[in-house]
Point group: C2
């Protein structure tokens, strides 16, 4: 699972190839934009042209899935290059890309199957070899990432890649309960997972706000618990086949005993308090929970799990188990009586009891149970898997007790962290770093999580991508691959490519801004973009805390805070520019000019955006932030003037600016103005004085 | 059909409301961005808010198509506003928008059905009334165009609209033969047609390069004549139902006796020369043609028309009939013998004979025959319809002979004309203007044509939209509505809205540029955009003439010439700015600053784009144009300097610049640099001297 000793040799080569900036690279050697970084990359010489004659052929083991993969590969290559490409008949061994597969993979994809592959590209052809189709799928994605326009047309550079994943469980969870995720949105995200070599789609299918799968045994689950927004069993089967074609397992989650209001709308008798119940419209942790003292609840779950275990072929079955607040249990004398009678001590004991009753129901249908941290109980069979939202220490503790685990703490995409912060989270860090080799093997990998309080079909792609690619790399690539600058360079390229797959994280941003602006001149729209490009939504759970009206599932997600990416690339680039400018012993006039132009644009932006604010309530909402951006531009200009004139800025000026910047850094309209800290650096640099300005 | 006398009163109001620029409009009165302009618009006071409580109800006649229309309307309104909207149960008469329909429309939509509607919006509610569902469909689109973000949220202004089309035949033809058009691409274009109130989709289904419909009687047509790229009969039925739901008729075209190579691949015995035949891969006019002397050809066509007449329910059936070059006929002694024997004089007579044999086959299956100009023969029944690619005079001549006609000359979208040029073409202009009222009624309307030599699934939307909206307006709106400035203002707004329907004319542009650039810095990509935004492909049929390698259906459409819109909005805006700057008696410093910034950006652009050109063959291809743009920037700056300094530019300077501009205006890489003429105006203005510069 972990990178072999050969990494010590090739690791440096890998990193150096990926990190050489464009400008210093020899003209004929293009940089590689591979993500995740493969285990080993050796650069050859020359390149393989991709033109209309490009062909694919199979040797060794074949199956229909591989043919479909080749067709999809050619379609994608066609999109990337604009060159019409069709599967051509002909001698397989003479194809431009020869794919050799040793044998089949498991009928139902399993955890820990061999996913390795070898890809050799030379000027005369390419060969992809893998033990089974899973490796082929990964290798095809690597090939696609190698192809780009070159001085001689579209081509892949000559290269030899040996690759395999570091962790066997690399997933994305999508919460389709809080906001329903239409099937086509799921599918394009599955395409995205394939592109970055993730292999698990964890489908959060039920919660207080909705039960999203058709049950034929208990049809009131979806009929009364979903507003009509649910997946039919046919759709589920279709999605599973779609994912399997892409080397991705589908793990369903039915969250019990809490997070289950939607179940009780149709079946109130299962709850710990009498109904009636309604679908929950708000966000948060709510009281309704299954009644662990009610034998009927287990009978119901047994039958439902039987039905769903058949529908979802994966070996793992997620039962949730998180965040039971216990209020219904506390308030129900029969349940309290039950706790006493069974010597369960408290609600935690009651939940452990519930899980111990639940686990055999899951096992009976041939599955291993997965649950969030709370399900962990030393008396449960070691077969279960703990998904940790609490943290790596909890995960390490579980591993020590013999349980397998996957990390999600640190990978919550909805919290709005920068990619680099997710990237720095390693499942084998913290307490896990000190586990024994046997224990480490129990850390199966991780899953990014996309909780959907503020994500719907329109903006969910932009909440997942491109940052999810950084998490995918963390879970696939050798643990030495940690440089955030290299990651960002490659992530930006991959982000563009992901749109070719049908993901809409970039296109929808533009369209949502158009809606916010309404009919507008190009200048007005550009002003909105200028502001939107450098703001981010407030982080973690602050959005709930700062809401002026309590948000519900009916709240429109049409504001600037819903449109802007969760990480501002423009602000990051600006921060890098400021760092470079300050660090240079003599200020670079080109960088100075760039900074000056940026500050002037910001300073003058609000005058234009103000016109739009008069016409659009959604623009007006960000007026304060727009004014802050103008101020930021003015502060930046003043700092720049001191620095370029070689004057040390006076202390009282500095104090005044820092106080202004303090105000600017407070969130307004649930938005953060991201370049503020970099401008603060400039103010501080201006106040220490320069050494080189006199030569200016 | 033509606008009533009330237009004389309200027409001015309509135009004035639509043309008041944003800046001088009272704050509470938003401009209307309606396209096509309705027959009559009266502005009221206040506005109808659109929020989550918005509802739709029906009174009068109803049918399932209306329910689907309401659902689609709410979905679209939801997309436009970002507000979740669902069909709500409740009293229809109390809905926010009450839709009243008098009676059903025809089971199979007919030419000339009443398409009128009345839409009244007040602060408390809206009412849409129409004689039949066709008017309802149009009225819903008008309502959607009224809704925009306002200072008080999303809203439609209070307004009373009475509307009906000027012409009953308002169509778009798509050539799905030369490049196959996937069904989803057709569908999104049908959505576009609905949005601009066009009511005919003319489907060019066969040509030398492909036979695109499944025939069960003659399966070798699609099996051997389509490379597998054809529509099944189920897909055709699905598309027809889709179009009917949107008030759009589907007229199929099977082009005979020429343009028919693809037929002969499977059925060479129908041709005028022995086979074998292959699918044509090139563009142009080719020799293969049906053999009019062969009775078997008529028998074949009779059976095929029978099959297709059942598949396509529309009353009209298009048989093509254009561009027979006669070479196969000349070379075939039996055919020449036939001409003599039947006293047909020449090939034209032979084609008339063919048409006279064909028409009864079409009529027998209950259809009226449509054909291009060439089918016109005075002895044919007056029931047929002439589609004129030759021009309005040909159309007027046909009308004088008693034939009905539709205009396509002037509406060829693939020729790359600016929208304003299409917009100026009126079916009742030229010789048609002098027709008698009875003859004028025979001019049914018009059709824009999208021939697909250089359009595939990726870029076809950008070749059709937004310019097709201008043609749609010409065919719907009162003939007094002719101001191109107003048209452009509205077209740009509508263009953004069309993307919400799923059309990709703007998003794909960006993605195609990314492919052309390859991995690049934001500055490099911006430089490519700066150039691409001001170039257009060469016009009319020049692309064929200037090709260095003969283009075929396998030629990748991935170059800058394939990516850029056929009309540059940026160049048009620049031209307007130059005109305004020159026309002002004293130069406006704000406009001067805008021009200067633009010229500097152009001048400096090539230095950045040059870096990309070293890496991308597709960028390198436009290097000469990029250098021209830099030169253009420098020339513009120099002219501006003369003007703002109040100096008259010397004659030799002027002569030199004009000679430079002459070079720049020559197409390079099949691209035109569009701002060159405006810069020339500036050079000429600088050389006449200013009157006001001394106050500067």
């Amino acid at each position: 699972m972990v990178a072999g000793p050969w990494m010590r040799g090739l690791g440096l080569l890998v990193l150096s190839v990926l990190m050489i900036p464009l400008s210093v690279r020899p003209q004929n050697q293009r940089p590689l934009y591979l993500m995740p970084v493969p285990s080993s990359v050796q650069i050859g010489s020359g390149q393989l042209l991709v033109d209309a004659s490009f062909s694919v052929g199979f040797t060794g083991y074949t199956e229909p899935r591989l043919d479909r993969a080749a067709q999809r590969f050619l379609r994608q290559l066609s999109r990337q290059t604009g060159i019409p490409l069709l599967l051509k008949p002909g001698a397989a061994a003479k194809a431009s890309l020869v794919i050799h597969t040793d044998h089949a993979s498991k009928e139902i994809q399993e955890l820990g199957e061999d996913e390795s592959y070898t890809l050799e590209v030379s000027a005369t052809g390419a060969k992809l070899s893998a033990p089974n189709p899973l490796g082929v799928l990964h290798g095809l994605q690597t090939f696609l990432q190698l192809v780009d326009v070159s001085p001689g047309g579209f081509a892949a550079p000559a290269v030899t890649i040996n690759d395999k994943p570091r962790f066997p469980w690399r997933g994305l969870m999508i919460d389709s309960a809080r906001h329903f995720t239409p099937l086509d949105v799921i599918k394009r995200n599955i395409d995205g997972l394939e592109a970055v070599k993730m292999n698990v789609f964890h489908w959060h299918l039920s919660d207080n706000q909705g039960f999203r799968v058709e049950s034929k045994k208990f049809p009131k689950l979806q009929e009364m618990g979903s507003d009509g927004l649910y997946y039919t069993q046919d759709e589920v089967r279709d999605l599973i086949a779609y994912a399997r074609d892409r080397g991705i397992r589908v793990v369903p989650e039915f969250d019990v005993p809490g997070h289950s209001t939607a179940w009780f709308v149709g079946y109130p008798e299962l709850a710990s308090a009498p109904g009636p119940y309604e679908i929950e419209r708000k966000w948060g942790v709510f009281d309704p929970a299954f009644d662990p003292a009610n034998e009927k609840a287990y009978k119901f779950l047994d039958q439902l799990i039987e039905e769903m275990a058949k529908l979802f072929p994966d070996h793992f079955f997620h039962v949730g188990g998180d965040e039971v607040n216990g209020k219904q249990w506390d308030a129900n004398p029969k349940i309290q009586e039950f706790i006493k009678a069974h010597d369960l001590k408290n609600n935690q004991g009651l939940q452990a009891y519930f899980n111990k009753r639940l686990e055999p129901l899951v096992a009976k249908h041939g599955k291993s149970m997965v649950g969030w941290d709370e399900v962990l109980d030393p008396t449960l069979p070691k077969d279960i898997v703990i998904q940790s939202w609490r943290g790596p220490d909890a995960l390490a503790a579980a591993a020590k007790q013999g349980f397998r685990g996957i990390l999600s703490n640190g990978y919550y995409l909805d919290l709005g962290w920068p990619a680099a912060r997710h990237y720095a989270v390693d499942p084998l860090s913290g307490a896990a770093a000190n586990l024994s080799p046997d224990e480490k093997v129990r850390i199966l990998g991780g899953e990014s999580c996309m909780w959907s309080e503020y994500a719907n079909a329109e903006n969910i792609d932009s909440r997942i991508w491109p940052r999810n690619a950084a998490i995918a790399e963390r879970l696939w690539s050798p643990h030495e691959v940690i440089d955030p600058a290299s990651m960002y360079t490659r992530m930006e390229v991959i982000s563009d490519r992901l749109e070719w797959l049908g993901l809409t994280h970039k296109t929808y941003y533009h369209q949502m801004l158009q809606r916010i602006a309404g009919p507008s001149t190009p200048e007005e729209f550009a002003a909105l973009e200028t502001l939107a490009n450098v703001v981010e939504p407030v982080k973690d759970y602050t959005r709930e805390e700062t809401a002026t009206v309590e948000p519900t599932s009916a709240t429109p997600l049409n504001r600037v805070v819903d449109a802007v990416p969760l990480e501002s690339a423009a602000a990051r680039h600006f921060g890098e520019l400021v760092d470079k400018f300050i660090a240079a012993s003599c200020h670079d006039p080109a960088n100075e000019a760039r900074l000056r132009a940026q500050f002037i644009a910001w300073r003058d932006n609000d005058a234009i955006l103000g016109l739009l604010a008069q016409r659009s309530s959604l623009v007006k909402e960000v007026s304060a932030t727009s004014q802050d951006l103008s101020t930021l531009g003015a502060v930046g200009l003043a700092a720049l003037d001191y620095m370029t004139k070689g004057q040390r800025a006076p202390d009282d000026w500095k104090a005044q600016q820092l106080s202004v910047l303090l105000q600017i850094q407070k969130p307004k309209g649930q938005l953060l103005l991201m370049p503020a800290p970099a401008v603060q650096k400039l103010v501080e640099a201006a106040s220490t004085g320069g050494t080189c300005a006199s030569t200016n």
